[in-house]
């Protein structure tokens, strides 16, 4: 109770409220801009949070996460271009509504559904996470090593088109994580350069992989005169859905929200899968399935509730076990660690006032998102009219600044530039950059806990692990996780095949 009161006090500080507002508005803009993802937005803004109070910083990052998912639906509805992969399913009924002159109605439906989905996921986070975190109290180095391994098995699920290349990407992260001092104080792969003794810093590496590489990708468009905008929709009519229509949609929104939370908890299955599952549920349970694809309100409400519900669900394993189920969650984990907070029970004990403030802030973000969406949602799509040649220098300067600001060290700037180059080549040659982050975060964790676990075992490690029931459970989870990507790929392909080619296109965003 005391922690909750401190959390409320933390939430209502001026810094936290500013963080909340900036996160919601910034996330919406980032989400609405095709080509900019929540992952990139969070990676760019983590350095900004460095000098901030941890509550305000993490509230801002969590708000960006949920708001960017919602923002993606605005461009999906108005210009038939999903701002984030999670919004691809919304295109199918959102854009036909725009073509029928009901764009504002469609945005209203998306706003209401996203808010409810996100809010329900925040409640789930508040209720489930502390219970799950208690389990981590029983963990020793052996379990933490296995948890790191478990996290690494998610690489396959972030792999994109080729599992093998995804694994290579994860291994690049692991190899990069080897650089620096090893747990027994040996200077590993530092090539006698003192700047490398501290290892590869996570934030500059992420900024390079997601932002600078994106700048290089956008440079391919040089001279083509492309902007990201297609056409401007006519925004007339009412924003809020009629009461009768809303009441009719409530059971569907609630059902899809629960599904979204469950999908979010599952490692590796993100908002894109949840939105397709939600859309399929809506269609199979609808009295008018033939209207889907023609601008049916249910076709917007279902995927939007489901994809925003994923955000809170994905934070549950992240905060309790340190398992980032998606690239956005991996970047958020980076945000937690730079503020000196390690996932696990201590987040709900030692740092309870901060953690609960973040969860309550996340709840508030989902409400504020609705209000901001109602007030300015219709205008947000105009940001996609900003010419790319004007946007790219801003992103570059902010990337360089962000990588420098974290530790005010030029080595980090060079790391960001090098990782930007590597990230660009990886994208060109079909190697996804997200697993690198996972490898870079979990590699050093696995390394240090492996070192400690071998010393605790005092002999062979495997028999020691097999003597511990929790280790056995985590080993079984690792085995299950190895099969999860194949199952989720089959599920995603089934739904994409069912609903057409928008889902395929979304994979490339």
């Amino acid at each position: 109770m005391e922690a909750l009161l401190s959390a409320i006090a933390n939430l209502f500080t001026i810094n936290s409220l500013i963080g909340l507002a900036v996160g919601v508005c910034g996330g919406m803009v980032i989400g609405a801009l095709p080509g900019l993802s929540a992952t990139m937005g969070i990676a760019l803004l983590i350095p900004v949070t460095y000098g901030m109070d941890p509550s305000a910083a993490l509230i801002m990052l969590a708000s960006i996460y949920t708001s960017a998912i919602y923002g993606g639906s605005i461009s999906a509805i108005l210009i038939h271009t999903p701002g984030t992969p999670s919004s691809a399913a919304t295109c199918l009924d959102g854009y036909p509504m725009t073509q029928k002159g009901e764009a504002l109605h469609a945005i209203g439906l998306s706003t209401v559904s996203s808010c409810i989905g996100g809010f329900i996921s925040a409640i789930a986070l508040l209720v489930i996470a502390p219970l799950l975190a208690r389990i981590s109290l029983a963990f020793s180095s052996s379990e933490y090593f296995l948890i790191a391994l478990f996290g690494l098995t998610l690489i396959a699920s972030l792999a994109g088109k080729s599992v093998l290349k995804g694994l290579i990407a994860g291994a690049i992260g692991l190899v990069a994580g080897l650089i620096g001092m090893s747990p027994d104080a040996y200077a590993r792969f530092t090539f006698k350069m003192p700047a490398l003794l501290g290892g590869v810093s996570l934030i500059p590496a992420m900024i390079g992989l997601f932002s600078i590489s994106q700048v290089m990708t956008q440079a391919e468009e040089r001279g083509l005169g492309h902007t990201t905008v297609k056409e401007e929709a006519v925004l007339a009519g009412r924003f809020m859905p009629p009461w009768k229509e809303f009441i009719g949609l409530v059971p569907l929104i609630l059902k899809c929200s629960v599904v979204g939370v469950l999908v979010g908890i599952l490692p590796g299955a993100g908002g894109d899968i949840a939105s397709w599952v939600g859309l399929n549920m809506a269609k199979s349970g609808s009295k008018t399935p033939e209207l889907f694809g023609t601008g049916h309100p249910e076709g917007i409400a279902a995927p939007e509730a489901a994809n925003n519900a994923v955000t809170g669900g994905a934070l549950i394993p992240l905060l309790t076990l340190g398992i980032p189920g998606s690239s956005t969650a991996a970047v958020l984990l980076g945000g937690l660690t730079i503020h000196g907070m390690q996932p696990g029970y201590q987040l709900f004990d030692k740092y309870a006032d901060i953690t609960y403030a973040v969860i309550l802030g996340f709840m508030a973000a989902n409400i504020l998102m609705g209000l901001v969406g109602w007030a300015v949602g219709r205008h947000v799509v105009k940001v996609s009219k900003v010419p790319l040649p004007l946007l790219i220098p801003c992103i570059t300067v902010f990337s360089i600044l962000g990588s420098y600001a974290a530790s005010q060290n030029m080595t980090d700037v060079y790391i960001a530039v090098i990782f930007g180059f590597i990230g660009y080549l990886m994208r060109k040659y079909g190697i996804p950059p997200a697993p690198v982050v996972l490898g870079l975060i979990l590699g050093p964790m696995a390394d240090s806990h492996f070192y400690q676990a071998t010393r605790m075992a005092g002999g062979p490690l495997v028999p020691y692990m097999l003597s511990r029931p929790i280790s056995i459970v985590i080993m079984l989870m690792i085995l299950a996780a190895l099969f999860a990507p194949f199952i989720s790929k089959i599920v995603a392909k089934r739904y994409q095949a069912k609903f057409g080619e928008v889902g395929e296109a979304a994979e490339d965003i």
């Binding site: 093998l164 290579i168 027994d184 440079a219 391919e220 220098p393 930007g420 040659y429």
Partner: protein, 148 residues
């Protein structure tokens, strides 16, 4: 061998070569560091070798996970990268604000943007925002050079 498979083959070779370099070094490391380092580098070598072998086995078919990359399409990105590198080095020479004030319009002009007023406003607005947020609010000491 098709172009995409050739790309995969080169990637596999590079990855395997880096992995072997790591393995050779790992063997000489102390007991506490060696096992984990060796496992990671062996995995890295194995994955690189797998990609290379796969590209030989399916040499006649196109790879489904990447497109054929031409030198021509990479010229502009590489030039942009060189500009970023120059900008990064300029930070310590002439300071953050001066180098950014030069870099932003130059990159925008190179990208094909030709409207001076929005360009000046964007550059000034961005640098003003950075000054207020980072220097004034967060007390970050940005790189200073001979000019500012």
């Amino acid at each position: 061998m098709t172009r995409t498979r050739l790309q995969d083959f080169v990637i596999g070779l590079v990855v395997a070569a880096v992995g072997i370099f790591g393995m050779v070094n790992a063997i000489k490391m102390p007991d506490g560091t060696r096992p984990y380092t060796l496992v990671v580098t062996v995995i890295f070598t194995a994955l690189g070798s797998l990609v290379a072998v796969r590209s030989i086995l399916y040499a006649k078919t196109e790879s489904h996970d990447c497109k054929a990359v031409t030198i021509k399409e990479m010229i502009n990105p590489f030039f942009a990268f060189l500009m970023v590198v120059a900008y990064a080095f300029a930070l310590t020479a002439i300071g953050f604000f001066v180098s950014s004030a030069i870099f932003m319009p130059v990159l925008a002009l190179w990208m094909g943007y030709r409207k001076p007023i929005p360009l000046i406003c964007t550059t000034a607005g961005m640098l003003g925002f950075i000054y207020i947020l980072f220097v004034y609010q967060l007390n970050v000491t940005l790189p200073r050079g001979i000019l500012f």
